[in-house]
Amino acid sequence: MSSLSYSTPAVEVLSANKTYANGYQALLPVNLSIQEGEFVTLLGPSGCGKSTLLKMVAGLLEPSDGRILLWRKPVADLQASGKTMSFVFQSPTLMPWADVATNVRLPLDLMGTPPSVAKDRVMEALELVGLEQFASALPRALSGGMQMRVSIARGLVTQPDLLLMDEPFGALDEITRHRLDADLLSLWAKKKLTVIFVTHSIHEAVFLSNRVVMMAARPGHIIQEHTIDEPYPRTQEFMVRTEFMRHAQVLQKSLEHASESLS
């Protein structure tokens, strides 16, 4: 009867693994538990199965074996438990024929949200990413960074409890990336989201996360979990502090170690 955990696990990965039909082992059995409100980053080189793991949590891929629970229920039953999840892809993945507001409204339309409610939610989400003046613009009129912010607004419009992000800023330039990282952190704090973030950037991982899950390739597996026990809010100034460097070095070492064991 005694439960020691102080909060509910939002995501539980129970020895889930993935082997494709052609025999390729993408992911060895993985165990991972993520608390509600936690910001967890999956970090590792390409081919380490971090995207595979994220897609399994999203329900886009079925684990070959093992289970994944969201709020203690199978992924498919998420809606029944009254929770919502959003997925942000590496590319903006917008509909080029539809304006920004229509793109952001898409998940609400698919759910059948009444238009009057949807309209307010869309404007609210666009304000969060600072794009309210661009509601009627077409995606091609926006820069790459702005398109990504539209994609994030679409992720937030459903007021999700769980936000899954697959290298969302990987294709952007350094400055835009830093700005969006900072924006994301303030949104996370404001909305009390649970976030799983995939990246191959050590600096991005340290800057954002409560906890970094380090993964290695061939076949994909978890090699280390590292807690970033630094207070929020974190600003650009955090990135030049000794603590930041210390965390980055720990992750750098374990990443190198993982690569060595391969060769």
Binding site: A58, L60, L106, M111, L138
Partner: protein, 269 residues
């Protein structure tokens, strides 16, 4: 308003229209001179001026014939669109049906319409209907192949996004597949509109040799029998102009539908 870009644009437009028109007049002038100098008889090569005169004097039968041809072309084009798009939807919903039926669509495409037309004209009592059927068969394939390709050319991540949000098949079709297919469909329309006209003319020829028909192709046949070569040329001119008009309308439609967002139609900035 900055005058420089609009000036530049109008100069471009002038070049785009002016140069081909000038060339056209040059060719017509040369043709006229050639016919006059070589003293060619009108039953061999009529001069452009004679052709225009025939167009004016014979306007009544020619215009009636034009109307018949245009009607058959538009009806068959519409039929090809409805049938072609329906077949594409079926193909996209069921891979099995596509595998089963696609070879027959190809078979239909590669069999020359001239060889099927007599059969259709014999089987179908109503001449107009039989000609519409022939022309539709010619125009059908580009619509099927382009629309099917377009309905399948959905950005994979966007498709995943729809699946993640538990979109129904219907929602995916209406909100994702159809808009994604639009550029391909428009490409199919451009090809098919021209083919519908070719199909209509071929069908009229076949029907015309049997003594039935009243379209422009029939006029050409009759003019040939009676050695009214200027009239033949006039009918030919009308067919070409119809084709140009169709193409222009399709180009306009494509720009209207895709102009804002698709790479093929967005004007370079």
């Amino acid at each position: 308003m900055n005058p420089t870009p609009s000036l530049h644009a109008s100069r471009l437009a002038l070049q785009k229209i002016g140069i081909p028109v000038c060339l056209g007049f040059l060719i017509l002038g040369a043709w006229q001179a050639f016919v006059v100098v070589m003293e060619l008889p009108p039953y061999l090569v009529p001069s452009p001026i004679l052709m225009m005169q025939t167009l004016v004097t014979d306007w009544h039968p020619l215009l009636l014939a034009l109307w018949v041809t245009v009607k058959i072309t538009l009806l068959s084009f519409a039929l090809a669109i409805v049938v072609g798009v329906s077949i594409s939807f079926v193909f996209v919903q069921s891979a099995l049906l596509e595998r089963a039926l696609f070879p027959y669509a190809v078979l239909l495409q590669v069999t020359p319409i001239v060889s099927i037309a007599p059969l259709i004209i014999i089987w179908v009592k109503d001449t107009n209907l039989s000609m519409v059927l022939c022309a539709s068969l010619v125009a059908l394939f580009p619509i099927i192949s382009n629309t099917t390709l377009g309905l399948k050319s959905v950005e994979p991540n966007l498709y995943s996004y729809f699946l993640l949000n538990r979109a129904s098949r219907w929602q995916i079709l209406m909100r994702l597949r159809i808009p994604s297919a639009l550029p391909y469909f428009m490409g199919g329309l451009r090809i098919s509109s021209g083919l519908a006209l070719i199909g209509a003319v071929v069908a009229e020829f076949v029907a015309g040799t049997g003594g039935q028909g009243s379209g422009l192709a029939y006029q050409i046949l009759q003019a040939g029998f009676q050695l009214k070569i200027p009239r033949m040329f006039a009918a030919l001119l009308l067919i070409s102009l119809t084709g140009v008009m169709l193409f222009a309308v399709m180009a306009w439609l494509s720009r209207w539908a895709l102009g804002d967002w698709h790479e093929s139609e967005v004007q370079a900035e």
